[in-house]
């Protein structure tokens, strides 16, 4: 849908991506395409047991095989790492204990991959097999053998959090109606088209790593730690990227392994994971069990909410502490909740570690919250949309948990999808249903992964003989961050995006950017790019004005010209005047986190908003669901490139539908049940229904040209909207994701028998949450005159 142009020449235009042609014609160089001379190929031996102590590892037979150049084990890489400073619990190779089927144990570098694979098979490992812990319930009780990790607790609990904002008990006391529900969201994985791949060289005492990663900076730090090299001896470069969705946001074992093997052999070493190994690398959606209790007045205003979550974290920490907080953080940025209690728990299990997947920790509670509010509306005889609307947050407010809401297009998004879909006038017919849901997401996490005071993103611009180069650490993972950088620099300098050369995601040549996660790049790198480009423009304008003998205000910038001069001539004038033409810009998010422990998760300089309607047919006999159409409206603040925004929104819908209807990270006999793209069901594009997208522009006061995020938020409302549409069609609640045909049939059977007309978890377990940290809520209205930070 169209977006406004408001006097911009590049911003707001639906331009194709700069790398589109190279990607669709197969010319982009992905990590696996790289084959430097004398490259060795690496394969990793992985644990066949979900939980075991390693008694011994014998690599002698593997070492003797012709073509094998190096074999390493955990003894060669003993230093632990992890994405979060508080959970440095991973080793590139484990030599003491394995914690899931797929945990890396040894690695081989050989002249070809077949030899490396045979050598892995020839390594003999003696295990002392331990009882695995495969569910949240099992993790909460004492284990038969030993705990999975030696920190956290009691039992296999990793993390417990408990926060209370405002007087929750008083809120429930003044409610006319309260309701409790239990929901379960099954885990699922990112399933990027490109498997993880990395190539390392070791030349002149320096490691260079090309990798399919979302976060070159964090990989850089982990390599320095584990390889015990100064950061200036390591260079990490993001290769062309075939998709991450959060799955390439941790530093990974194979990245460290190829670097170590390159150091040992002096030859380039490459490792491309198999699809099965990608399922083991995982870091995907946590399975989350949720309990929620909400009080409302008789006219549907929320008086208090109590939300509990239990996350099945898998074997390691990964982003899990943050994920745990996220399951309780963003409920308040869509609905005005005057008193809120959140208790969260993450457990360790003997499965591949969970972490951030598109929406990080928030799709699960969003699913629960949207359905829960609908049920409350049915209880008190109110239209569910009306109940939700009565509780919508307002722009320029602060939530009970201290989150600062600036622009907010919730109302407009809602109206757009309701009107376009005819939701309010829909025909009530058994087997046909429509569902509505809303959501919100961050435009970048307000705090970095590790404590530091550096800006979150920096951009440098060099103008030289008429050429413009922008340097930024941001990694284009397909979301279009390169397009955004080029568009912004071009807009400010009055040229076209194709005139801007980009150097990105290279720790040697580009300044810091924290990476492509938490939907932060457009907002943060975008603001840094504006700042750098405006400084450059000033120099060009000043030089042009001097030559013209005119004041700087008289120098027009645009159409490839600076005042009376072509851009190239103006750049020569400016270079003559100032010397080498470089400029820099940076972005540091406002310090807006609330005054409590754990407040670092949730704050963002701005929140995007989405609303969605799903139309489907659900067959009562078979439980089969046929999607007819999806309407989605997304408040992106301003669309810097509406074509890419639509792409992100549609991609989010697609991923959300897969999670809603079929994707499941399931386990059997301690193993991932189906680590294959054929058996792990995810929709193909032939399974996609029509999607109608509306871009809503609220022009955020702090976003670049008013822009906010688009890459993650639109996934969130799709999932509850599907389940809600099934209820609309058949009168049964599927309180568990994915909504499979067998669950629908079972819920209908229960309804017929007079039992509760639902399918979902029966109960929430007893969890030893600590006493709540009580936090006084902030003043609700934002003071527009005061600085944004507190």
């Amino acid at each position: 849908m169209g977006a406004s142009n408001n006097g911009f020449s590049v911003i707001g235009k639906p331009l194709p991506k700069p790398d589109a042609v190279s990607k669709v014609t197969g010319r982009a160089i992905y990590a696996d395409d790289m084959l430097p001379a004398r490259t060795l190929h690496c394969r990793i031996l992985r644990s066949p047991h979900p939980h075991a102590r390693i008694v011994s590892i014998d690599t002698s037979a593997a070492r003797r095989m012709p073509g094998v150049q190096a074999v390493i084990t955990g003894a060669d890489l003993p230093i632990k790492f992890g994405i979060l400073p508080v959970t440095q619990d991973e080793r590139a190779l484990e030599h003491e204990k394995v914690r899931y089927v797929g945990d890396p144990i040894a690695a081989v570098a050989a002249v070809d991959e077949e030899i490396a694979a045979s050598a892995c098979d020839a390594i003999s490992v003696e295990y002392e097999v331990l009882e695995p812990v495969m569910s949240i319930d099992e993790a909460l009780v004492e284990t038969k053998d030993e705990r999975i990790q030696d920190y956290g607790g009691p039992n296999n609990i990793h993390k417990l959090v408990a926060l209370e904002f405002g007087d929750v008990d008083a809120g429930f006391a003044r409610a006319d109606h309260t309701r409790e529900d239990v929901f379960f969201f099954q885990g699922n994985t990112h399933l990027p088209m490109e498997q993880h791949s990395a190539v390392a060289t070791f030349v002149d005492g320096r490691v260079t790593l090309w990798s399919s990663t979302q976060v070159v900076h964090y990989v850089h730090r982990a390599l320095a730690k584990v390889l015990e090299l100064p950061m200036n001896r390591i260079r990490v470069i993001g290769a062309a990227h075939g998709g991450g969705f959060g799955g390439k946001t941790d530093p990974f074992a194979h990245e460290i392994i190829v670097s170590k093997l390159a150091m040992l052999t002096g030859r380039p070493v490459k490792c491309t994971l198999t699809r099965e190994e990608v399922f083991y690398a995982h870091r995907g959606r946590h399975p989350v069990l949720m309990w929620v209790r909400t009080g409302v007045t008789k006219d549907g205003r929320i008086t208090a909410m109590h939300f509990r979550s239990a996350l099945d974290g898998g074997a390691y920490g990964s982003y899990g502490v943050a994920s745990t907080f996220y399951t309780g953080a963003l409920q308040t940025v869509t609905y005005d909740i005057p008193a809120y209690r959140f208790e969260g728990c993450r457990v360790f299990t003997n499965k591949p570690p969970c972490g951030p997947k598109r929406g990080h920790g928030t799709p699960q509670p969003r699913f629960a919250l949207e359905l829960h509010l609908e049920k409350i509306a049915h209880d008190i005889g109110l239209d569910p949309v009306e109940l939700k609307q009565r509780n919508f947050v307002k722009p320029m407010t602060r939530t009970v948990n201290w989150l600062r809401v600036t622009s907010c297009g919730l109302e407009e998004c809602t109206e757009r999808v309701l009107n376009a879909s005819g939701f309010r006038k829909r025909e009530k017919k058994r087997g046909h249903g429509m569902g509505f849901a809303i959501s919100s997401y961050l435009s970048g996490a307000g705090t970095a992964i590790y404590w530091n005071d550096m800006p979150h993103s920096e951009v440098q611009i060099k103008v030289d003989r008429g050429g413009v180069t922008a340097y930024c650490g941001a990694m284009d993972i397909g979301q279009g961050s390169d397009s955004v950088l080029a568009a912004i620099v071009a807009e400010e300098l009055g040229i076209q995006p194709a005139d801007v050369r980009l150097v990105t995601a290279d720790t040697d040549t580009t300044p810091i950017d924290l990476g492509s996660y938490s939907s932060r790049v457009t907002f943060m790198a975008g603001n840094a790019a504006i700042q750098a480009a405006r400084k450059m423009r000033e120099m060009l304008v000043e030089a042009a004005a001097a030559k013209m003998g005119a004041p700087v205000e008289a120098v027009a910038v645009g159409g490839g010209r600076i005042g009376d001069f072509s851009f190239e001539d103006a750049s020569i004038l400016a270079e003559a005047r100032f010397g080498t033409l470089t400029s820099a810009g940076s972005y540091t998010p406002p310090k807006i986190a609330g005054p409590y422990k754990g407040s670092g998760v949730g704050p963002s300089p701005a929140y995007s908003y989405s609303a969605c309607v799903v139309d489907l047919d659900a067959d009562p006999r078979t439980g089969l669901v046929h999607l007819n159409k999806v309407w989605i409206a997304h408040d992106v603040g301003r669309a810097i490139n509406p074509l890419l925004v639509e792409g992100q929104v549609e991609g989010s819908v697609y991923m959300g539908l897969g999670e809603a209807l079929m994707e499941e990270q399931e386990f059997r006999k301690g193993l991932h049940k189906w680590p294959s793209m054929l058996e792990y069901k995810s929709p193909t594009f032939l399974d996609m229904p029509e999607v109608e997208t509306f871009i809503v522009e609220t022009v955020d006061p702090e976003g670049p040209y008013g822009a906010k995020e688009a890459g993650q938020g639109p996934l969130l409302p799709v999932i509850p909207a599907v389940s809600s549409a099934v209820f609309d069609a058949l009168g049964v609640w599927i309180d568990e994701i994915p909504v499979t045909p067998e669950k629908i049939v079972e819920a209908l059977r229960r309804k017929e028998k007079g039992e509760a007309a639902r399918f979902g978890p029966a109960r929430f377990p007893s969890i030893p949450y600590p006493a709540c940290i009580k936090v006084e809520p902030p003043a609700k209205e934002l003071d527009r005159a005061a600085p944004a930070s507190i």
Binding site: D32, R46, P48, H49, V101, E113, E114, A117, Q195, T272, T274, R275, E276, D617, D619, R621, T622, G623, L624, V625, H626, M662, R668, K669, L671, H672, K673, W674, P675, S676, L678, E679, K681, P683, T684, F685, L686, D687, T740, P741, E742, V745
Partner: protein, 338 residues
């Protein structure tokens, strides 16, 4: 990445030469036509061979005669699905060919390959490393059945879409051996065993399928699968019917993906023959047909649900065959337009 193992590729010019090569090499060699199922299985080490014998000499013609159609084994699934004569006279067969896997794989996969396609089990269709971790099963490298550990046999599931339809249409296949050719009813091509699921000699090459023209026969194939775009069947019904007015004068119902071989529903055929086809008899016949189907926990979704769905696909296939040209009954996820 998962790599193909090293193998020799042999290129015979005739079926007889291919059969001779196969009998000389024994289990060390396999035939390859489209390779769409074979190559992934080589990568996963489900098949381990020293040589592949290419069948690209097979002709790729569909010959429409007054008495029968002869479909060469090398005809791709895509061209069989698009063939006008097959669509008009053996519509269920064209339909079945058109719902195998995905569009790119139908362009490579052949009708011979789909008739002979390996049985499937989600304990078996996994990589070497995964199978080693869970413990090898009797179908490859091990000696027990993981889905039914007390069972002496393998319960891998017959996953051909076109096989059941060819049986319902009373088709015959031609098998070429080193010493000559023989004909076999398609029904006799299969055995009730997840491992030795084909009754042909391993060295025999399936060279063609012949479908007899049965005056007034109407056929349909309904396939259930999670994604209409790619998946193997998790239940399916092939129906060929002849009606005199509303009275069934001939009926063949064959089920896919509910046993280790295409399951013929003879009792349902007998029940329906001579009866008026209406909602009630369709339901009753579907119930009879579904009774012997015993899905196990070795394919997508739960086997309880799959068992319930067998009746549904039979009803739908009966209705579709009966109303041929008038459209089918219910929209199934597995029936994607185009």
């Amino acid at each position: 990445m998962l790599r193909l193992p090293r193998f020799k590729y042999l290129r015979p010019k005739t079926a007889r030469e291919a059969a001779r090569m196969a009998s000389e090499l024994g289990p060390k060699a396999m035939f390859v036509a489209g390779g769409t199922d074979l190559f992934p299985k080589l990568k996963r080490r489900q098949f381990e061979v020293e040589a592949l014998i290419g069948l690209d000499f097979l002709s790729r013609q569909v010959r429409a005669g007054a008495d029968e159609a002869e479909v060469d084994a090398g005809v791709t699934l895509a061209s069989a699905a698009a063939n006008e004569h097959l669509s008009a006279t053996f519509s269920g067969y064209a339909e079945a060919a058109g719902v195998v896997s995905s569009p790119p794989l139908r362009n490579a996969g052949t009708i011979g390959g789909n008739l002979c396609v390996d049985t499937r089990c989600n304990y078996y269709d996994m990589t070497y490393e995964w199978r080693k971790a869970i413990g090898f099963c009797m179908k490859k490298d091990g000696d027990i059945c993981l889905v039914a550990p007390s069972s002496p046999r393998c319960w891998a599931v017959s996953s051909s879409d076109t096989g059941p339809m060819a049986i319902a249409l009373e088709g015959m296949v031609t098998l070429a051996g080193a010493d000559g050719e023989r004909e076999l009813p398609v029904a006799a091509l299969y055995r009730d065993d997840g491992i030795d699921y084909l009754a042909k000699q391993p060295s025999e090459v399936l060279t063609s399928l012949r479908l007899p023209v049965i005056e007034g026969n109407q056929s349909a194939y309904v396939k259930l699968r999670r994604r209409g775009s790619i998946d193997f069947p998790i239940a399916g019904a092939a129906v060929a019917l002849r009606l005199d007015g509303a009275t069934v004068t001939r009926c063949r119902i064959v089920l896919s993906a509910v046993a280790s071989y295409p399951l013929e529903a003879r009792a349902a055929d007998d029940f329906l023959t001579g009866k008026t086809l209406d909602e009630e008899t369709v339901r009753a016949a579907a119930e009879i047909a579904a009774k012997p189907a015993k899905p196990l926990d070795n394919a997508d979704l739960t086997h309880f649900w799959r068992k319930r769905m067998v009746r549904v696909v039979v009803e739908q296939a009966l209705a579709a065959a009966a109303t041929r040209g008038g459209g089918s009954m219910v929209k199934l996820l597995g029936q994607h337009p185009g």
